[in-house]
């Protein structure tokens, strides 16, 4: 029974959110606010269950696993106190104290990222761009594998260099620098296009997932009623979108270029 009710509530909320494709409406706003409220409570639970309970309370105050020997680690009172100091932000008179906790987090973050970023973002990415590095697995390979790999390795290197030239503004983009920068823009356009295409397909597959839920799962007994209902609603939504697109927005006298 809980599954049956849950399925129909999920289907109803799904349709309420999809109704935004037509225009902002009370059903969408209801679902939107419910989503924000429920997801905030979920985050509170997540933070409690994965951070506060095991890493703070379980280290200082309570033994969460009575089967194992345990002694309190009072060092973990430090973040507890800093956390409480962070909450002084809610009291305007002593709001400035929260800077200590913030400085702790920001200072730690600043020191923590330099090493890994230098290693894996900068040096490793540069290293992986050189053709002789990328050609290492192909040493001794037949020409039919070696030559395409070599062409790809050289293209990759040239593309990385030209993109870097495009982002290098210390010289005016003229002559050779300008030509390289132009190629860099094309490479970036291909990259943006490819990643845009990937994103579109990822979102479409999510939508297909929701549509499948409505058509297949929302009717546990499996007869065609929910499929027809959902199909009808989807057709209505798409028709409404097309109808709305044909109407020029208020205040716009002629179609935009």
């Amino acid at each position: 029974m809980a599954t049956f009710i849950g399925t129909w509530i999920a289907a109803g909320l799904t349709l309420m959110i999809l109704s935004f494709l037509y225009r902002d409406n009370p059903f969408f706003r209801f679902a939107e606010h419910l989503y924000v409220g429920v997801s905030n409570a979920y985050i509170v639970w997540l933070v409690w269950a994965t951070i506060v309970l095991p890493d703070f309370i379980g280290r200082v105050f309570i033994n969460l696993d009575p089967a194992k020997p345990w002694s309190p680690d009072y060092w973990f009172l430090v973040p507890g106190v800093l956390g409480l100091i962070m909450l002084t932000r809610m009291v305007p008179a002593i709001e400035w104290m929260s800077r200590w906790a913030l400085a702790f987090v920001v200072g730690w973050g600043a020191g923590f990222v330099i090493g890994p970023v230098l290693n894996s973002y900068l040096l490793a990415q540069l290293y992986a761009s050189f053709p002789w590095v990328n050609m290492q697995p192909y040493l001794g390979a037949p020409a039919s594998e070696y030559i395409p790999a070599l062409i790809n390795a050289v293209i990759l290197f040239v593309c990385v260099v030209t993109v870097l030239v495009y982002f290098f503004f210390s010289y005016e983009h003229k002559g050779v620098i300008g030509g390289a920068a132009k190629i860099g823009i094309w490479v970036l356009m291909v990259a943006f296009g490819a990643s845009f295409g990937s994103t579109v397909m990822a979102r479409v597959s999510l939508f297909i997932g929701r549509a499948r839920f409505l058509v297949q799962d929302a009717e546990p007994t499996g007869h065609a009623f929910s499929a027809l209902l959902t199909l009808g609603l989807l057709i209505a939504i798409i028709t409404a979108i097309i109808a709305r697109r044909r109407q020029p927005p208020a205040g716009e006298s002629e179609p935009a270029e």
Binding site: L13, H33, Y35, V38, W96, W100, W108, S129, A191
Partner: protein, 237 residues
């Protein structure tokens, strides 16, 4: 007092930043232990900071209800959703798992029979998936506006996107399935072109961006450690 308000945060950031930076390059176990412990410290502080966010959003909506601003009914929905999920978290309808301490506050997703679990799977998950799925339509609309091939660069973007989109679906790949699987002509198959576009120009383009981002992160971090960048302290005294 001014020291506590303005200078002490900078000192804390400097000491923590330098210490964390130095211990990254000292592979000795005790130093790595301190580093791991600091990492947990920061997540605990972050957990407390989350309360600020919850306080902010609930406070805003409670004010909206109190002042009866337009749409305050939706604020009720938000608050009731929050409260219902929090109440559902309390596991008063079931016993704690076998072997756990009596006071262990189990509940939430750990209890598959509970209302929290039910609300998570039948309310939160479908709404989250649908919220992201409607982006498909907005992104399609954005594509319609940006893909109009007015310049050479826009054309390049359009062609790359179309190839990747077609290369990711069976209908697209079937268009070039008549080409051979191996040899030169196989590189004209849509799935091969998609793979090449993602692995070579796409990787090169984003590698260039990542290199710039890395330099930016390092520069900003150094500025924070040495107290040049102090915007995290906010305004005022």
């Amino acid at each position: 007092m001014m020291f506590l308000r303005r200078q002490l945060p900078v000192v804390i950031a400097f000491v923590l930043g330098m210490f964390t930076l130095v211990i990254f390059y000292i592979p000795a176990a005790p130093m790595q232990g301190i580093g791991d412990r600091l990492k947990i410290f920061v997540t605990i502080i972050g957990a407390f900071a989350m309360l600020l966010g919850i306080n902010s959003i609930l406070g805003q909506h409670i004010t909206k209800i109190r002042k009866r601003r337009p749409g305050y009914g939706y604020s009720w929905v938000l608050i009731l959703g929050f409260v219902a999920m929090m109440i559902a978290w309390i596991p008063w309808w079931s016993a704690p798992p076998e072997g756990s301490a009596a006071y262990y506050p189990w509940g939430g997703l750990e209890n598959p029979q509970g209302a929290f679990y039910w609300m998570f799977f039948w309310i939160l998950v479908p709404m989250q998936a649908t919220m992201f799925s409607i982006l498909a339509f907005f992104i399609a609309s954005a594509a319609y506006r940006s893909f109009r091939a007015k310049t050479l660069e826009a054309t390049v973007l359009l062609v790359a996107a179309v190839i990747v989109m077609l290369g990711r679906v069976p209908l697209g790949t079937s268009m070039t399935s008549w080409l051979p699987d191996a040899g030169f002509w196989s590189s004209l198959r849509l799935e091969t072109m998609t793979s090449w576009l993602l692995n070579i120009p796409n990787a090169a383009g984003f590698r260039g961006i990542v290199l710039g981002v890395a330099l930016g992160i390092i520069a900003t971090s150094v500025r924070i450690i040495f107290g040049v960048e102090k915007t995290y302290m906010g305004g005022g005294d």
